[in-house]
């Protein structure tokens, strides 16, 4: 023991990774709601689309109705599952890909990389933020659906159990894919231009805006490669009557396939985000 202590430093324990992750969730969530762009294009986008579709197509009657006009579901009911799925995708992929690409180019990540914040805490903060905001978004969507659009929500507990696992699985998968996709844009400015088209095209081919079963088969097959189609299908199984299952690709809801596809994308997203993430761009 030598007496070479230069600065009096009480030996406190370093803050834990998990505790810092929780602190990041609070911080990230607060900043999310202070960013007008993110609020409009991520949080409220599904609301806007649901409103537009309901207003535009309601006059043409129920979807899946009998030839005499009875039966089927209202336009709002039909689009609700798709909008919930779109919300999960936007909250994860679009939100994080744009957010992290921006943080990379504006110096936020470089600053954090010079502090003792663990990358794991940083990830926990991002994924937690996605989770919190996606839950608020879905809750608000369901509330608007029930109270404003007068859509009947399911009452069976099994349906809500399906909702829960599809939601949790889908949101975490989206979050990882968002972190991975953030590595693609070369600058924060180009991030929206790179990310938005990807997300938009996925929504069109995956049955969010267009009725999936009316799409050509090759497009359905293409969409089946990506996770959004499975999220939307899982959500349809919750909110649409059983009779609509025959309209799906295989004539059933295929929930095991939903779980399988989301599981594969979850692992892929985890690996990609782990491999591509850097506090700063590596120099030569």
């Amino acid at each position: 023991m030598s007496a070479t202590v230069s600065v009096a430093r009480p030996q406190n324990k370093a803050p834990g990774t998990l505790a810092l992750g929780l602190s990041r969730i609070g911080y990230e969530t607060r900043l999310y709601f202070r960013s007008p762009d993110t609020l409009l294009f991520t949080f409220f986008f599904p609301f806007i689309m649901l409103g537009i579709f309901t207003a535009a197509f309601s006059s043409s009657g129920n979807i899946g109705a009998n030839p005499d006009g009875t039966g089927g579901v209202s336009v709002g009911t039909y689009y609700l599952p798709g909008m919930l799925a779109a919300g999960m995708l936007l909250s994860g992929v679009q939100n994080l890909a744009v957010d992290i690409a921006g943080e990379k180019s504006d110096g936020t990540l470089k600053r954090l990389g010079g502090t003792p914040l663990s990358p794991l805490s940083y990830f926990l903060g991002k994924i937690g933020q996605v989770f919190v905001t996606a839950i608020l978004q879905a809750g608000l969507l369901l509330l608007v659906a029930r109270l404003v659009l007068d859509i009947a929500l399911p009452t069976e507990p099994e349906k809500w159990a399906t909702f829960a696992w599809v939601f949790v699985f889908g949101v975490i998968t989206s979050a990882f894919l968002g972190i991975a996709l953030a590595a693609v844009p070369r600058s924060g400015r180009s991030a929206t231009a790179v990310v938005a088209p990807v997300v938009l095209v996925l929504q069109f081919i995956s049955g969010v805006y267009l009725q999936f079963t009316t799409l050509p088969e090759w497009m359905q097959n293409l969409a089946s490669i990506f996770p959004l189609k499975w999220m939307a299908q899982g959500m349809r199984s919750v909110f649409l009557p059983e009779s609509f299952a025959v309209a799906e690709q295989s004539g059933t809801w295929d929930l095991p396939w939903v779980a399988g596809a989301l599981g594969i994308w979850l692992v892929l997203g985890l690996v990609l985000s782990r491999v591509t993430f850097r506090w700063i761009r590596r120099d030569a």
């Binding site: 009480p10 803050p15 810092l20 504006d106 936020t108």
Partner: protein, 314 residues
């Protein structure tokens, strides 16, 4: 009495990007508790050197030890002992000053008190303002505050006072002197030579990726560079200069040669750090690349001891 290992030890540091050698064999060390100023023109290799020490960049060659650790392998515990104020920041800044500091304080095992840091950085009136709403100089204060919130043993300040008004700069100096008094080791880069002179104990001057001089701030450049200059205007309207260690005697002789008349525009000038710095850097630029390896050199510097030139004001 110094058995304490140096806070920073750099030996023959090299860094090249592609084929360009940005840093070519730089060596220096910084004692614990010392404030070391790294000076040099833009593109000289200062920021590259500092970013290697901070662990942001990998080096191409040489040995580096920062607080006893190779920065390339520095983990979170090592980072907890550093404070880093980077050169630029343009973060979106949707958090308030207090929120930002409180959040960052949580990363460290024994942070400073958030309110104390806000006061010390002169941000009390802006404490509840979002960072995005602050002026450039105020944002820079936030950068500095974030750099010291973790009670660092070693503080990196990369051009910390850019955009400060003179009063803010003096406040900042006061803050840094307080940190020095607590024993914080500081590595400072700045373009304000008066700032280096105010805060630094020693300085290194880097140009063309090489250290061209290093030493205590009042000795750097060597005794020759600090020889005072006597300047006056002669009878033909030409400005004359004479470098001399005995300016009073030169002036006395001058007066005698004018038969007691008052010399026109008489000045006795002691070279400031800025003058010394400029002559060192210009001297280095005059040397063809690759031959100026030696530290502390007078070679190639134009002999400034006697020169006569037309006064442009005439």
């Amino acid at each position: 009495m110094t058995s304490t290992p140096p806070a920073v030890q750099v030996r023959d540091l090299q860094k090249s990007y592609g084929g360009v050698e940005a840093v070519r064999g730089v060596s220096f060390s910084i004692a614990a508790g010392e404030t070391f100023a790294l000076l040099g023109p833009n593109g000289a290799g200062k920021s590259t050197t500092i970013e290697i020490l901070e662990g942001y960049r990998a080096r191409s060659g040489g040995e580096v030890s920062v607080l006893g650790t190779d920065p390339h392998r520095g983990g979170l515990e090592w980072k907890a002992r550093l404070g880093i104020v980077l050169q630029t920041s343009n973060e979106s800044g949707n958090a308030t000053v207090t929120e930002q500091l409180r959040h960052f304080a949580g990363f460290y095992p024994h942070p400073r008190d958030v309110d104390e840091v806000i006061d010390a950085a002169g941000l009390r009136e802006k404490a509840k303002t979002r960072v995005s709403k602050l002026s450039g100089g105020q944002r820079r204060r936030v950068d500095v505050a974030l750099g010291i919130i973790g009670r660092p043993e070693l503080l990196f300040l990369d051009e910390p006072t850019t955009g400060f008004d003179p009063e803010a700069r003096h406040q900042f100096w006061h803050l840094i002197r307080g940190l020095k008094a607590e024993g914080t080791t500081i590595l400072l880069t700045t373009h304000y030579l008066d700032e280096a002179a105010q805060l630094g104990d020693r300085a290194g001057i880097i140009a063309g990726g090489q250290l061209i001089d290093i030493g205590p701030l009042d000795k750097i450049g060597g005794a020759d560079a600090r020889v005072p200059v006597v300047r006056w205007r002669d009878g033909n309207g030409l400005v004359r200069e004479e470098r001399t260690s005995r300016p009073a005697q030169v002036v006395a002789e001058l007066v005698r040669s004018l038969n007691g008349a008052e010399p026109e525009d008489l000045e006795v000038i002691r070279p400031s750090l800025e003058d010394v710095y400029l002559s060192l850097v210009r001297g280095h630029e005059a040397i063809p690349a690759g031959t100026g390896a030696a530290a502390s050199t007078n070679d190639g510097r134009p002999d400034p001891s006697r020169r006569t030139y037309k006064d442009v004001r005439a």
